[in-house]
């Protein structure tokens, strides 16, 4: 329970200190004697609600828990939630409302990197810290920007690098085939797979960039089969990921391991049911940034907490946990600030974050020149029924594919 801290002992000291610091802080937006306002935004409508509704609920659960335990330095956390629809214009409207109408202290949200990028100039100009919820694209944290903190469940660079490393290491693969989408996720996934593979002495023998709307994956899989790879790395989204696994089995390619990035497999049991044929999964691996698969105790704790906090949603999907790490990082940083809560102070404190949690595969770390929190993920073998976490954490070295 590192993140909860020693609430009782600090409380009195802080309240006293805050009373002294009060006049200096009156000007900081979103912070009063007894309240810190956090502006959250995520897709609550439209095609991508799976990345918004439950993660936001999970983050709120963390804040509610903090409040239930006395708040942070005597202040309660108040959350204002807005819908961003995962479109640029709606997201910018949401952020501008949160900042200029609700006067929030910081922004916490964003599930879609491309939409979030539309807010870059405004956030930078207003100097509002923006902690990304679960966006897994790279464009806002590479190169790092002062106000943006992200990659709490890692980014495409990490997924790509981890799978390439796993392929070169335990699987001893020399020839790698890559299948990704023709969007920003696909671009950075491919870049880091290529760079890592080449660094480790392997070779990318086939690159297939497919549209997310693809209905027939025959062509890319024929191309891959013709390239005779030792391993196939896929960065596809859920529906194409299923089509790929099916076609891969149909073409008897299951001797070649199939490695899938997280975004294609939100809930493994549903994925297996969709593929419909466990023989497709005899040699199947995927990345996962969380420890809830490896350790049932971790799973039970966080899912139990969610069910208690949101009894109306008793069966959360696999992406629910993606709302948690960023909230934990915010709470930990606010605690370190104590009562002297300013935006500049928050940014500086975030830059020094080094948070070890039971939930994440690796520590969440920031630095002045590093605003991507998580660089290590686990690789999980999945045969359609059971998930076996492979030993070790696979990490991105911070350079490949930059």
């Amino acid at each position: 329970m590192t993140w909860l801290g020693n609430v009782g002992t600090h409380l009195l000291a802080c309240v006293a200190a805050c009373a002294l610091a009060l006049p200096a802080m009156a000007a900081e937006p979103g912070v009063t004697d007894n309240e810190i306002v956090i502006g959250m935004f995520a897709p609550l409508s439209g095609p991508l609600i799976a990345y918004g509704i439950q993660p936001v609920n999970a983050a709120r659960m963390i804040y509610d828990d903090v409040n239930a335990h006395g708040g942070i330095a005597g202040r309660r956390v108040r959350v204002v939630v807005e819908d961003d629809k995962c479109t640029g214009s709606s997201l910018v409207a949401a952020i501008k409302k949160l900042v200029t109408i609700d006067h929030v202290f910081l922004l916490h949200g964003g599930s879609c990197t491309a939409a979030l990028a539309a807010a870059r100039e405004f956030v930078t100009r207003e100097h509002v810290p923006l902690v990304m919820l679960n966006a897994a694209g790279d464009s806002l944290v590479f190169p790092p920007q002062r106000e943006f903190f992200g990659s709490f469940q890692s980014t495409q660079r990490v997924y790509g690098a981890a799978l390439a490393e796993f392929a070169a290491g335990p699987l001893k693969a020399k020839r790698v085939a890559v299948i990704v989408h023709d969007d920003d996720y696909g671009k950075s996934n491919l870049a880091s797979v290529t760079a890592t593979t080449e660094r480790l002495g392997g070779k990318v023998v086939a690159v297939e960039r497919i549209p997310p709307s693809i209905t027939d994956v025959t062509a890319p899989l024929l191309n891959i089969r013709a390239a005779r790879p030792d391993v196939i790395i896929s960065g596809a989204y859920p529906a194409p990921a299923v089509l790929i696994a099916q076609k891969y089995a149909e073409y008897r390619m299951t001797a070649t391991p199939l490695l899938q990035s997280t975004q294609g497999i939100p809930t493994p049991s549903v994925f297996a049911k969709n593929v419909g044929d466990d023989t497709a999964l005899v040699n199947f691996y995927h990345t996962w940034a969380f420890n809830d698969i490896a350790e049932p105790a971790v799973h039970d704790r966080w899912y139990g907490m969610y069910r208690a906090a949101h009894p109306e949603d008793p069966d959360p999907g696999g992406f629910m946990v993606t709302g948690i790490p960023s909230a934990l990082a915010i709470v930990a940083t606010l605690r370190r600030l104590g009562c002297d809560v300013t935006r500049d102070g928050f940014v500086a404190a975030m830059d020094g974050l080094d948070l070890q949690t039971d939930l994440m595969a690796a520590p969440l770390r920031f630095g002045p020149d590093r605003h991507d929190a998580l660089r290590g993920v686990r690789v999980v073998r999945f045969d359609g029924r059971t998930q076996t976490v492979q030993p070790g954490v696979y990490s991105w070295n911070g350079q490949d594919g930059n």
Binding site: L44, T100, E121, D182
Partner: protein, 317 residues
């Protein structure tokens, strides 16, 4: 208009942003209405012309150093030129085929923007550098508000002129009956091409105006759903009339922002609500909300006393 400089300084940036978006949507919708409401053609290409306006203005500024005041009209002209070529090829098609051909054009343009990385930034989107007007860098909602209002005002003036012009009357005639229009000497083909071109030009201007306050554009923002939003505005307000279109832009544009006041769990049903609004409007108010507002203002009942010597007399059947 006179108030706008004042407004731009006292109003929170969020509201200014909404205002700017509404003004841009108004230009987009007015342009689409030239095609849909005036000449009765149904086409999806509008969103592509909007994209050409955005990417054209931004790239001319950033890559070639062409200032906004030159780059925006140039991009709009480019949109108009492409619109003209499409019109030449597509205008002879029947209604449905025109809709389908332009549907395909809009989607392939989106694909082209997404795929042509080196020019457009492709799937990473494009950061738009703030343009300068007369040496003043704009790029924020506050500074863009007045130029946006001026752009919209000029477009409104042009539209008013168009409604009173012979071309405007010809388009209205084509919308109501192509046969009667042609038999009365209206060159239907030429008028339709003109409407298509003007419409594309307006979309280009609307796109160019986006660079005044928008700092980023992504190919995902140029999809069919965005066009359906504009379409909803026109249909709900009342197509074929400037006032109706502005009314629709105001209502439908503000709706998602009003919904922010609603409980979060309602938001999931937004899409359904849009569909319902669209259907109910075309079912019960084929001329849009405007017709409700105007019903009391303008009467179409003929006067009781009549002068002149009628050659033919009619009583109601």
């Amino acid at each position: 208009m006179l108030l706008s400089p004042l407004l731009a300084w006292v109003v929170p940036e969020y509201l200014l942003y909404i205002g700017n978006v509404l003004m841009m949507d108004a230009m987009l919708a007015l342009g689409l209405d030239v095609l849909l409401g005036w000449s009765g053609q149904f086409a999806f290409a509008h969103i592509a012309f909007f994209g050409i306006g955005i990417y054209g203005t931004a790239l001319l500024d950033m890559r070639a150093g062409v200032p906004f005041l030159l780059g925006m009209p140039l991009s709009a002209l480019l949109a108009a030129a492409i619109g003209f070529v499409i019109a030449l090829a597509a205008i002879r098609l029947r209604d449905v085929y025109l809709a389908l051909a332009t549907f395909a054009f809009a989607l392939s343009m989106q694909w082209l923007i997404r795929t042509w990385d080196s020019l457009t930034g492709g799937p990473d989107g494009l950061r738009i550098a703030a343009p300068a007007l007369f040496g003043i860098v704009v790029g924020t909602d506050r500074r863009a508000f007045v130029p946006m209002a001026m752009l919209l005002a000029s477009m409104l003036a042009a539209m008013l002129h168009l409604t009173r012009s012979v071309l405007g009357r010809s388009l209205a005639a084509i919308r109501d009956s192509e046969h009667a229009a042609a038999a009365s000497g209206i060159d239907v083909r030429r008028s339709k091409i003109a409407a298509f071109t003007i419409s594309a030009f307006c979309a280009g201007v609307a796109g160019g105006s986006y660079t005044l306050f928008g700092s980023f554009i992504h190919p995902d923002d140029l999809g069919i759903w965005q066009l359906v939003q504009v379409l909803t505005m026109i249909v709900v307000g009342g197509s074929g009339s400037i006032g109706g279109v502005l009314l629709g832009v105001g209502l439908i544009g503000v709706l998602p922002e009003l919904l922010r006041l609603a409980p979060a769990q309602w938001l999931v049903w937004q899409e359904l609500a849009y569909g319902l609004i669209l259907m109910l409007t075309v079912m019960f108010l084929p001329l849009g909300l405007r017709s409700v507002l105007r019903r009391n203002l303008r009467t179409t009942v003929p006067p009781r006393t009549r002068r002149g010597t009628p050659t033919m007399e009619h009583t109601a059947p």
